[in-house]
């Protein structure tokens, strides 16, 4: 699913290399835990995997397509179609309601809109189904501004959004760091269950090593990244 080779990246030409990965590969349906200290370039790696940034060297392949060979617009469409992203916190757009937030990827990807519609009849119904799966009742919370949801609820909504339209790759960037211990546990089990349902590959970034146990594989940034970054 993910194939990186000789990838080099820095934000500014004057910076030292931040990312220097000779090889990284993640198989289909694999659940991978990526850990590393703050500033080690984990989130930067997401920019590369999502095709938002391109490396100065090397190739980044997702699902067999080399992103570095594609134009920016095509990469953006590719990301919309194939990748579901979950951020650390404040994942939701404040002026959209619950369902509209979940439906959002379908507005940029016809493919995901089509798949969502095939599943539930309409993208909105698919959004509601996903929300119920992660134990959020859209009928009860639907009218509230999303900013009034608790941190845990917001992160679960973000999971529903990353899953709508069944993208093959889910990337989560420290999604649990704003959650307390109990909520974190139930969040993780829901995430695993939903990702398994869709059959997606999961790349989970965190510096909380205690979460690593349930994953198929554990990667450590300093081991895959040859750059001198911390």
């Amino acid at each position: 699913m993910i194939e990186l080779s000789n990838v080099r990246f820095r934000w500014r030409a004057s910076d030292p290399l931040l990312i220097d990965i000779a090889k990284l590969s993640v198989g289909n349906g694999e659940r991978v835990f990526l850990e590393g200290p703050s500033g080690s370039g984990k989130s930067t790696l997401l920019n590369l995997l999502g095709g938002v940034m391109v490396p100065e060297d090397g190739t980044v392949s997702i699902d067999g397509a080399d992103l570095t060979a594609l134009r920016q617009g095509v990469r953006d469409t590719f990301r919309a179609d194939r990748i579901g992203l979950i951020f650390q916190m404040f994942n939701l757009i404040p002026y959209l309601d619950l369902v509209d937030n979940v439906v959002l990827p379908c507005k940029f990807s016809t493919r995901r809109a089509r798949i969502a519609r095939e599943k539930s009849g309409s993208v909105e119904d698919e959004a509601r189904r996903l929300l119920r799966n992660i134990e959020i009742d859209p009928d009860m919370l639907g009218d509230r501004p999303v900013a009034t949801l608790s941190a845990g609820q917001q992160q679960r909504v973000a999971v529903a959004r990353s899953l709508i339209g069944s993208p093959q790759l889910i990337i989560a960037d420290e999604p649990t760091s704003a959650l307390d211990q109990n909520v974190r546990q139930s969040f993780m089990s829901l995430l695993f269950k939903e990702v398994a349902d869709v059959g997606a590959t999961l790349l989970f970034v965190s510096h909380d090593a205690s979460l690593a146990v349930d994953f198929d594989r554990r990667l450590i940034m300093s081991e895959i990244n040859e750059s001198g970054a911390k």
């Binding site: 989130s43 938002v52 940034m53 919309a80 509209d100």
Partner: protein
Amino acid sequence: MTTARAAFFLAFKSLLNRYITAGLTIFAIGVSVMLVLGVERVRQNAKLSFANTISGTDLIVGARSGSVQLLLYSVFRIGNATNNISWRSYQDIVKRSDVKWTIPLSLGDSHRGYRVLGTTEDYFKFYRYGSKRLLKFSGGKPFGDVFDTVLGAEVAEALGYKVADKIVIAHGLGTAGFTKHNDKPFTVTGILERTGTPVDRTVHVSLAGIEAIHLDWRGGSRVPGMSVTAEQARSLSLTPKSITAVLVGLKSRLGAFRALRAINENRREPLLAILPGVALQELWSLMGTAEAALGIIALFVVVSGFIGMVTMLLASLNERRREMAILRAVGARPTHVFSLFVLEAWLLTLLGCVLGVALLYLGVSIAQPIIETRFGLFVPMDIPSFGEWIILGAIMSAGTIAGALPAFLAYRKSVADGLTIRT
């Protein structure tokens, strides 16, 4: 296509979420649009009604004063004559060999806010307006008797008068509480068709009628102990000693300049003859500066409305960086971020224009009667004219272009930040 709809949807929701700032911005733009359109509408119709007020008259003669002042009181019934011209001077003009017709005008009295004009039947024969149109009666006929009156369309309509009604004329020009010539009521013999000119707001009587009601008056008040009844008045000589102005038609327009010079150099008393076309032009250019000033003010109001809009969008830029990263994450391109901001500016401007047009119609419907009675200008409720559509189009383009600045900054931030959430 789908993403264009997405950007539109997001722009709409985002504005809806900030309804207070967005609403104020729309209001500011709306007011400016109303002002610009209002100025344009008044200008267009003022110009039109101006040119249409009088036609076919070659000269206007009055006591010596300013040509614009003479035009204003003789044709527009605005302001007052400082002096009259004597009956003898008038007769001299009538007797000139190059004069085809004259219409004497005697002003100074009013009826419930409408000016009373003393004149002769020639008024109904020779007075022309618009494209050389004569006055027509919608009912009745010209005045025949001393105490007959012919009403302009608006006077009759506003005050509900019909042919054969009796009205009382007030001395002077006030609307209420003035001394009235109530011992000598006038009978309505005719009502004129609407002309869209000051004629509509005029009460016409004969010169003899004006003379008759002033027999027992000297200056501004009734002569004590002197009272002339209407019946007595009829038997007296009712030739006026003076009139306010004369409209003159010449046998040949080519002689206008010669006649003009001759009258202006008249020895008996200081007279002023003017060419109506030239005076209208002069008056219009006077108004033109006011109109241009108003236009410039309106333009500045539009600019400040847009500055407010750009400020609002720029202010939101930083707090929206997270939103941009989320949008990028779900597949938005940097150009989507750009179009989101431009669309917001476009929507704000569009709603501002819609509000502005609504305010314009509200304003016109409220101000229409006031402007009409005060300034003699009819501002119609018509759908926007071609010129007004052009203005709206220009405002729409300007607003959208103004939105490109915050949009470009957002675009740049979005390209630089990528998926990194910065706050």
